[in-house]
């Protein structure tokens, strides 16, 4: 056994890079955690410095959700992987009606990744968490060799509390219910694609990445009897509606003309042969509510900054085949199926 010791070299946030030693559990890892993670994410629970955070929670059922983030590129118009990792998990909690409380964050970093980029990502994550009113209470950092990762992957897990009386779940849609969408679709996916493929014509499209729990709270206050909420992320609106149809054992009939699509999103999709219904969103939701409450719901949504373009896009119907069907702009009808191939990989 030999004693190891060396001078304490501080992090060089301007020119430094992540090295394997930053994941080895020794002094370098400690410096990385202090110099980037603790500095940005500082809060009393994280500062406990134990391998777990401990805290009391308000009464109520809890909700727990997890999401790995592997988006490429890491920075894109309207956001970055840090903010996305907060929004994605906050939204998964919000879709269950939960008020988000705490997040954990696990980083898997590729050797050679610039410390300046990591710093920027963690700063963005901290800002998104503050804005969403959640704290990152515990975390983990691993480093993998060059060529065994891709910059940085972030897995966030969220914990929230579900208020008494809130009963949102994917199997609660009933024939006759109204289907409401909170705004335009396809913006996140097209923003990523435009950045990745240098599509000059779609430069006006920004990711819609946003935390939706405030919108959800406003919706639940207006219409406590909401049946289901779901955010159309990977697989887009098509996958989201098909999932709900399958869980509830119903069909859905939607109207293409009622689905908002930003003109540049529509143009990019037409050029590339993509279907906006299959493209990921990171700041939109689908709500299903009793038909007599749809006007109240729309009014509450449109009064919130993230729901100004809310639209009543269709109805739940009886259908043993559980199909999602769409009345097209030309008066025809088509089945809206799950995405079967690969459309936009690494979108979130």
């Amino acid at each position: 056994m030999t004693s190891q010791s060396s001078p304490h070299t501080p992090l060089d946030l301007d020119h430094g890079r992540v090295e394997m030693t930053h994941g080895a559990g020794g002094r370098a890892m400690d410096q990385l955690i202090d110099g980037i993670f603790r500095r940005h994410l500082d809060n009393p629970l994280l500062a406990q410095g134990n391998d777990q955070a401990r805290f009391a929670v308000p009464p109520g059922r809890l909700a727990m959700s997890t999401d790995g983030h592997v988006v490429s590129p890491l920075f894109f118009p309207g956001g970055d992987i840090g903010a996305l990792a907060v929004h994605g998990t906050v939204n998964d909690l919000a879709m269950g009606g939960a008020r988000p409380l705490h997040l954990s964050a696990g980083f898997i970093i590729e050797e050679g990744f610039a410390l300046a980029a990591l710093d920027r990502i963690v700063a963005s994550m901290a800002r998104a968490a503050r804005e969403a009113g959640v704290t990152v209470v515990t975390g983990d950092t691993k480093v993998v060799e060059r060529g065994k990762g891709d910059g940085v992957f972030i897995t966030t897990t969220g914990l929230g509390v579900v208020p008494e009386g809130v009963e949102l779940s994917g199997e609660r849609a009933r024939p006759g219910d109204a289907i409401v969408l909170s705004g335009g679709i396809g913006e996140h996916g097209v923003a990523i694609l435009a950045q990745r493929e240098h599509l000059g014509f779609a430069t006006g499209v920004r990711s819609d990445s946003a935390a939706l729990h405030g919108l959800v709270a406003a919706m639940l206050a207006a219409v406590p009897g909401l049946r289901c909420l779901r955010d159309p992320t990977r697989g887009g609106l098509a996958a989201c509606l098909n999932e709900l149809a399958r869980q509830s054992g119903v069909g859905m009939q939607i109207r293409e003309a009622a689905i908002p699509v930003h003109p540049e999103v529509a143009a990019a999709c037409e050029l590339l042969g993509l279907d906006p219904l299959h493209i990921a969103n990171e700041g939109k939701l689908v709500a299903i509510c009793p038909p007599e409450r749809v006007d109240d719901l729309l009014a509450a949504m449109r009064a919130h900054p993230l729901g100004v373009a809310a639209s009543h896009i269709g109805e739940v119907v009886e259908d043993e085949l559980r199909l999602v069907q769409m009345e097209t702009g030309f008066g025809g009808s088509r089945v809206v199926d799950w995405l079967t191939g690969e459309q936009l990989p690494r979108i979130c």
Copy 2:
């Protein structure tokens, strides 16, 4: 917009491989989740099929912890990444005195990874969770292109409940306290290394990967006034003791002769110039307790299968420099520092 549909091709668990479509949010992802994740991890909360799990928890403070797992190789003597991902997070909860309840699991899978290997990993994870009495209540799957990952990475987050009266924390060590180690060190790290480097002479060493919450419960029952618990994972016993010394603002004096080291671990370390004090463990813990209770603590530990080799390895001392010092086998003394370089990357 064009409708996409294709025949429903089932998973080929014998010869199939993970494709980018398995992470795209469409039908293939749904098949992967049904065919592997839901099949092995089945429980009522996971079966809810929403993007978040909701549940009631027993009264008490909660504990939350997260760990990314990037171990290479994925299968090793004594375990695999699936079981390790359960044990690592269960142990981080247990070190706070928490009774583990639920886990989330986020998978980041490299394109081309064999479905048979994924199936084996998830089966092992399910078995470890059952044995530890925890349920995997929610999860996520992402797929990255070939060469942008390394087989599979798993980030698990755990939620547990801390019983009334339990107050374990890294800053509670006091001069005079006894330092106890639950068993031999270095076995996990050397097992991985032997597998990775084909070290024939260390083939008897198996990872100590195990869930420690049962041992912790027995220890707390015997000695409710335990001060701190910590598991010496990355960075080994050296990092673990230095962390506790820093958090508590104390020094530590340990005895080399009292630290159990398996002969094959010692031999491997000597040959490779490694220090067993820096090598990761995945089924050991360090406990700090008031000196008058150390015999009761040792008796309780030795009565548990995971603590049979428990040893009183030293004492907490006053030291403004917060050094960990070790009386060596030859009667000398040396400072036990943090690992400063890279020793064994991708060990957990």
